[in-house]
Symmetry: D3
Subunit: 282 residues, 6 copies
């Protein structure tokens, strides 16, 4: 599993704590003695795929390094309802103050991983298709949601606009309408670790993109039948990604066409939070 | 409508642009001429409540101040499928590079506003209950999601842990189990603009909290019947908030009990992104 | 005692060190051997109330984690002239370089706590009045000065403009002059942990505010006699704060009127620094 | 007048606004219509020396660039009680939200300038002594308080530890007790724009420092008589600074000794805020 | 020409100004009247390739928006000795204060572009080889140096470790020594816009990498003869990059082997600053 | 040796890691097992002066605190070709990911130190001249390059524009052409740790500057003969700095004139990176 760089975790957690704690936890400090201790357990309240335990842990530790967080599951694993994902032990004030931030991260990341896994599991046995995310991530949380996608068995698309070439219809329009011309321009500035991918909406465009030297194509909003035809036409000469509002129930048919990737913005922009609670020992 | 402070918009948009643009948009700059212009329209592809047009606009302007964004709707309004929410006019490279960040914000905020509005609309005619958000917001986006809740007709809970007192079961446990003692402690450090609210799980606790001087109570995970009983018992002496996994379909019955507030984490942690696309003139 | 969140301490200390140390301590590094050690004691040179020892300590540790700072007093305590508040032991270069930042924080915070304590002690035995701060804090140091006020026995007002409702004369003017209308508007957007407070300058306004449902009123610039009259009129139905250029010598008379709070900007904007020196063992 | 670099103003103002505005001004937005306008004037309520009008202005403009702030006085000028220092004209919500931050800066900076001017004015006619600040500034506000000192007619000491050499008693102790040795070491690493200054507490140390090549000496905690003796002994060969708890009433006698500089931490650490209010037109 | 995102320019320029200006320009403000104006011209004092005029301009404008900077050349152009690259017109204090930061950026970026252009020009007529940079950039200036490489006619390698796959000898060693195994692992997590590149040091490794599906190979520290052999063996099936301490004089021979790319760390880590001065009109 | 403040190291290293690592090291995490360990040694591949081992170390530790870096040389020492400067031992993924940032810093700082040492060594035996840097440093790296200059035996000029007075020809021009007038103005605002230095281009200006009270002069672009004449004329009354495009081969003749300082921008703006590689144990 490719982890999230620690500095990104620390920065996002610090910002979230600053946002949530404000000038300090009024309630906890007014009602709880400073030396009071608390133990708690993060419990899955529905089946989920785990993602983000390092972030959950960092939320408590960045707030109070004396807190002890013990993960009892591993990112990428499935957890049944009732599974204890981690335990937390520390000053009661600290645990109560950092709890919400820790859960806000964990619930979101498990939510993304769980939805991704459902997409991955929907690919029929034997099909080579992989599930891919998009740039439709929550502002500020790209590294985190990308990681959760990997925890769910997905593959990540380019990290940012500087990290890869994907020619869309509007680029083509701005190039005078020719996908071939756009591909040729892109090839001139592409280094050895990058492929040029172009969005195509017809078999003619597919031919033109391939002729111009595109390494990959994105088939946007096509039916499985059209996709299958494109796959046959490409005959393995380019990598093929299917995209465009694909829902979970569309995955099997699209995967059977033989595409290399199915990408879905919903993995990151519409995954519901996983249901996880922090239960305190009393 | 209470707006989002501009400095928070600018900071979040800048961070999102940095995250998404990286060292620069490779595709746009390789394939599109620098002086090429583009016009586009943000179109609602399903019915939604508008929220975040200022953020949408800022994404384009922070990237390139020469871009012109014209809002054609107002935050808080309902927009039917097909409504043009705003137009964008600028350098094609700039519009293409900032598009994703602009939409990522707008889709999320409209999603939150739309879901909130559905909760608000579920309150029966004549009931005084208002819909309230929680601290279960996306890390880094609290000001934005709070704003979207207001756009949907909801009311905001305390801004952060320093901005209000809410005594939960774990505070009470850490106080030796007495909600009355916790309330009394909290009252000592509470200023003139703050109310002390306490979570109660029984009528006995409700009595104890009121006796100790609590100004508000949160009824956690109670049935409508229990809530109704608590409302009668309180007899207007305290503000009452019902909470705990309440779904849209639970709202009418709970509102009919006469509670002042229904709060729901789902408003912010599980709202699906609204479906909005940026369509380019060709 | 409600502490200052550690991340706020670290951030403010880091900024202060950056500001004071610049590219590095030229004098210390030119004249002191790297392995030379130093011991020093922070000594109160006049009577004071202690506040900010954690910040004092952080200044040395953020500069050089190998420094040992041992507090010998506790925040909130009174210290007589000559009291050793803390000892510092570390590399001489590090102690000399961080000394000024550590003292700049400690002297200011003890200054605020000491002045606050004088206000608190001026409340006559038996009066219930508490001393309250304002938003007139040093830019960048609100969390610190708020904490120092608590160390001196004071209570904090709302943390920021998003953390509470306080309707001032200018809001009322902008509302068409009616405090009642302003209160009614504010009540619509106020959550369960917030009270609506309104500034009133006459008994008529007081009546109007109470009739509209205000939970608290601020009596601005009134004589003790007027204040006493207002307290009688309110008869316990609203929380009452007296404010407006109140000096230490005004506290007893105002407190005897029975107001709940006296607020004073001077606590934070005009407290002289406490006299504390760092004395080195030789 | 040497101004404050704009980027320092913007950064400090942004941080102060973030601290004070939080998620947004609840009161103003709930009670004031968005298109309501306000005009106000910043009025000196006691005699003062002006400092910080650029910062006052920036507070309104950074919050809302559509606000118009018109300075009616200049930094460095004396203003009598009742003087209008500046006018503000803009959206009522914006003026009300930024008012506190603007005044917090202006009151502090005018306070420092006013106190400095009193020290400067206490230097007898004909004496060459200049008033100097120290590193005892408010954490985070050094550039601002240094500027205010200049507005009051004072001169600034070194900007930070990397910007000049000042050998104190503890450096000397760490050097084996010899001020001469410390000076010689410091001279080796001193560039062409820097003078080496050493603190001396006796005439012997003064001789030793001069013999070693010191360019300036700081006389710490000496009586005017001792200072006068030192000045005679130095005979113009070194620059002389008198320091150590000097109060306003000490200035004339010390200045008459002929020292080049009198430095006082109180200028920045204990100046009371100037009394300035923002009065709204109604 | 792919520009540098404006927010990266602003952030780097602001940091550089903060670093260089400190609390303010002492000399300029002490010696120059505030209303004095200055005109100056940035002049190439030796032949160079232009890069970074936007950054040069931003240095003056971020310091003082009233400054007017007029570029008289375009990035990517060659400029002969004596060419005026830009003119600057503004307040004398502002021009003098921002001059050094503006030149520090411009000289470095022109230096990189000029050296890159020398490499590009050393590729013989007819050879397809392109010149590529590396990750050996100045910490903090990657976007800037990458841009300068493009101005000099070069192509950029992957933007960062998350933006592409390049398997080096140490990855292979950590994989048990098999380049094929490393390539296969990498292919599993590679999205549609990425190519897998592997470093190879022998023809056997080349065969193994190609058999495993590598899309590109880096030939490290090979002689032109070995490179030529590798190119023949690859027969167009993979992209080929030659690297490893290649100097300008090595370029022709290596390019004639038919490699796709020659990469050189020296382009960014050892380019001498271009000689440019800011000459003031008097 | 005067070290670099730790907070500057941490901030610069964090920024460099963020820039280089992006969303995470794709290659290392795809190809290397998480528990795989690596040992490596930083080896000088040509003779150099060491500078920056603390920064090198911080790069690994900020990325992964479990990494152990053992310095085997000390900053300021000369290292022969083949010398092991430090060893690194840690998780293979961490070592591989942080390697480039660590080397980018170390190679640049050793490069600056090595070039500085060559200048220092070029000063003839017996001459008192010291080598001085300038403000021509890499944006963002001033503290680092200043430190490297000290490691090479050089002395640092003023830290920033607020840290010292250096009157250049353009200041003089803006003052009406009189160096004497400029010096007199500067003296008024100069504190006890600062000398006023003025650039002079003729013996007449030298006389005028000295008469006005300048403490130091910068002789710009003069021949050794002119410099010698100026040194005689000054007769020890002012500190003398020679500057202006001086190359290594010019140092002996200029130093023999008896100037106090020779300054050279090339030390920081054009030092080639030292050749250092990280060699892994296999």
């Amino acid at each position: 599993m490719i982890g999230i760089p620690q500095h990104l975790i620390d920065r996002a957690v610090d910002a979230a704590l600053a946002e949530d704690v404000g000038l300090g936890d009024l309630t906890g400090t007014l009602t709880v003695e400073p030396d009071r201790r608390a133990k708690a357990a993060a419990v899955a309240r529905s089946e989920l795929v785990v993602a983000g335990l390092d972030v959950f842990r960092a939320a408590f530790l960045r707030f109070d390094p004396a807190t002890v967080v013990q993960p009892l599951a591993a990112d990428g694993e499935r957890a049944a309802r009732g599974t204890v994902l981690a335990t937390v032990d520390g000053r009661a004030r600290s645990v109560l103050a950092a709890e919400r931030v820790a859960l806000n991260f964990l619930q979101r990341l498990c939510g993304v991983a769980t939805l991704t896994r459902r997409f991955v599991d929907a690919v029929p046995q034997g099909a080579k298709t992989r599930i891919l995310d998009t740039r439709k991530t929550t502002p500020g949380l790209r590294a985190f949601e990308r990681y959760a996608v990997r925890c769910g068995g997905g593959v990540n698309h380019r990290s940012d606009l500087g990290g890869g070439v994907l020619i869309k219809d509007n680029h083509i329009a701005a190039c005078g309408g020719s996908v071939g011309e756009a591909v040729r321009r892109a090839l001139r500035g592409t280094g050895p670790t990058q492929r040029v991918e172009a969005e195509v909406t017809s078999l003619e465009q597919l031919d033109e993109a391939m002729a111009a030297g595109a390494h990959a194509v994105l088939l946007d909003n096509m039916t499985p039948e059209r996709i299958a035809e494109a796959v046959r036409r490409a005959a393995g000469r380019v990598v093929i990604e299917a995209s465009g509002g694909l829902r979970l129930e569309d995955v099997p048919a699209v995967a059977r066409t033989g595409v290399d990737f199915i990408s879905a913005g919903a993995l990151t922009h519409s995954a519901p939070a996983a249901d996880i609670s922090l239960e305190f020992e009393t």
